[in-house]
């Protein structure tokens, strides 16, 4: 049984129902003036965290602050991090991490570039084999994968069956670092610094169990207060250089690009590509793909957060400011590639990039979604909809009248919970 992605702190929750309306899978209800989660409908998108005015929604595993331990701490950096410090060079941000106690850093943009290469390779081969249907959907956003698994399972074979970039960091990295810095393997502590509320979930309950070997996951907003103080100091120093031996894969000029919507497909050697961000619009696109449209597209980058990962719920600065700062960096350094293809093709052929998870496995994690309704039940829903006002007022605790009617039929609510129905009767 999967653990819930989010929890509601009843002592903070006022029952305002903002989260009920924001939830894309209609997984939240108000019961007894407090929000409750229908766990098997939650895809961990973090919309509720974003809209809650009281801070009552907690991501299931929030590591909170970074506390330097005895262990050899390694930061696995989402390239979003650099855009959180407008006007600061990426190397100064890295130095800041060093100052607050990280012994080493690994920049994810190298893995993102490898992933992009593998995606291109897959697309080119798929043109020949026709093994997977067009359009292929990017596997990078975990929320999108879960959304498809829960609500559009017949589209699962559209998801590019390659490991996500963060999953490419295998246990090998830990041994490599242990060797290089002469520390015991058990003493290497990997911290994933991420803007993504969804990745704050440990491997155990994720649909992509082949992902992380991370020991802890830190939201960028969690370390921001510490880090920005350190960065501020560094900015005012005159000359300082980041010790190169302290990082595997320096961020290159392209790094700030990855977190932007459209960043994954930018520079891809595939022409029929498309990027869509923000859950509402993404859902419209998925519905159309489900309808058999967009077959002329080869690859679609879908991101649950608007503006892409820059808009993640664990970022520290506003997404538009972050975008502007990322654009400045790109303008300064341009975009380029750095990985040699010949070497990558060899490991591609060895199957190194391929995901070990079958798409159907993902669906199982959701217990197959909701059990199907009978025609009789569907008729009951339509009948209930005749009796209630249809104004989606939400007083009953459901997001809209249709969901309320479904709840009644499924035994999760009673018709008298509708204020207007009750008023009419009295």
């Amino acid at each position: 049984m999967p653990m819930a992605y989010v929890q509601f702190d009843a002592s903070f929750c006022t029952g305002c129902a903002k989260c009920v309306r924001a939830c894309p899978t209609k997984a939240i209800r108000i019961r007894g003036e407090r929000a409750v989660l229908i766990e098997h409908l939650c895809i961990g998108c973090g919309e509720c965290i974003r809209v809650c005015p009281e801070g009552a929604v907690i991501s299931a595993i929030s590591s909170g602050q970074f506390v330097k331990s005895e262990k050899f701490s390694v930061a696995i950096i989402s390239p979003i991090l650099y855009s959180q410090f407008p006007g600061v060079m990426p190397c100064d941000v890295l130095l800041g991490l060093n100052h607050i106690g990280f012994d080493h850093a690994i920049d994810l943009s190298y893995y993102l570039e490898m992933h992009q290469y593998a995606a291109e390779e897959f697309i080119v081969r798929n043109r020949e084999t026709g093994e997977n249907p067009w359009p292929l959907i990017s596997p990078i956003c975990p929320v999108i994968c879960r959304l498809i698994a829960l609500k559009y399972p017949d589209l699962l074979d559209h998801i590019l069956p390659l490991k996500r970039p963060v999953a490419l960091i295998g246990e090998g990295v830990r041994s490599q670092i242990a060797r290089e810095f002469v520390v015991a393997k058990e003493d290497v502590q990997l911290y994933h610094l991420t803007p993504c509320a969804s990745k704050m979930i440990s491997a155990g309950i994720d649909v992509f169990a082949d992902s992380p070997c991370m020991d802890a996951i830190l939201g960028i907003n969690d370390i921001y207060p510490q880090l920005s103080a350190a960065v501020e100091q560094i900015k005012n120093m005159e000359l300082c250089f980041y010790p190169c031996q302290r990082i595997t894969f320096l961020p290159n000029a392209r790094a700030p690009m990855w977190g932007m919507s459209g960043g994954e497909i930018a520079g891809m050697n595939v022409e029929r590509v498309l990027a869509v961000d923000g859950l509402q619009e993404v859902i419209q696109y998925i519905e159309k793909i489900d309808m058999g449209l967009f077959k002329d597209m080869e690859y679609i980058e879908l991101r649950a957060c608007s503006e892409g990962c820059l808009g993640g719920s664990f970022t520290a600065v506003d997404k538009y400011i972050a975008r502007s700062s990322a654009q400045k960096l790109i303008k300064m350094f341009g975009v380029g590639r750095r990985i040699q293809r010949g070497k990558l093709r060899r490991i591609y052929d060895q199957g190194w990039f391929h995901s070990s998870i079958e798409p159907e496995e993902m669906f199982k994690n959701f217990l197959g979604g909701e059990p199907p309704l009978t025609i009789g039940q569907m008729q009951q829903i339509e009948e209930i909809l005749e009796k209630v006002p249809g104004k989606d007022c939400g007083i009953c605790g459901a997001p809209d009248c249709r969901t309320f009617a479904e709840d009644v039929v499924r035994g999760r609510a009673e018709l008298r919970d509708c204020y207007w129905f009750q008023l009419d009767k009295n």
């Binding site: 017949d154 519905e287 489900d290 309808m291 309704l373 025609i375 569907m378």
Partner: protein, 142 residues
């Protein structure tokens, strides 16, 4: 058991809301646990039919009836009608305006797509009065 019936109004030339009826119907069919292949075929037919009304039609209606072993879709409009149904069924034959083609519609595949995806279809049309398309999908016993 009697069939579940539902109908929608389709507004001609309204591209913003075009496709709403077929998406709603698709969701209903999914909730009923109908096999994905049938849901997809019905949704594709519904969508093509709905787009035909939006592109050529005046206003129209989209009606669906669902029973345990069949789905019936009926889409009718008071638009210009079809002069030669045989010709309209041909792949690539289209009378859509150029501006719609630029939006990616009007490739002349609509009716032939419906014919391919529905288990049974019937078209009735009177030029100047309107068109009615009926589609039937069978649900084999599980």
């Amino acid at each position: 058991m009697s069939a579940l019936k539902k109908s929608f109004y389709i507004k001609g030339r309204d591209f913003t809301h075009a496709g709403k009826a077929s998406i709603t119907v698709q969701q209903m069919l999914k909730q009923l646990g109908i096999a994905t292949d049938i849901v997809r075929r019905a949704a594709v037919c519904g969508y093509e039919g709905e787009m035909n009304v939006v592109m050529h039609g005046g206003d129209g209606s989209f009606c669906i009836a669902i029973a345990s072993d069949w789905i019936l879709l009926e889409i009718s409009d008071n638009g210009p009608g079809i002069a030669d149904i045989g010709q309209a069924m041909e792949k690539g034959f289209s009378t859509a305006l150029d501006e719609y083609r630029e939006m990616g519609f009007g490739a002349g595949m609509g009716l032939s797509n419906i014919e391919r995806n529905a288990d049974y279809m019937e078209i009735e049309s009177t030029p100047g009065k309107g068109t009615r398309v009926e589609m039937l999908f069978q649900i084999p016993e599980a």
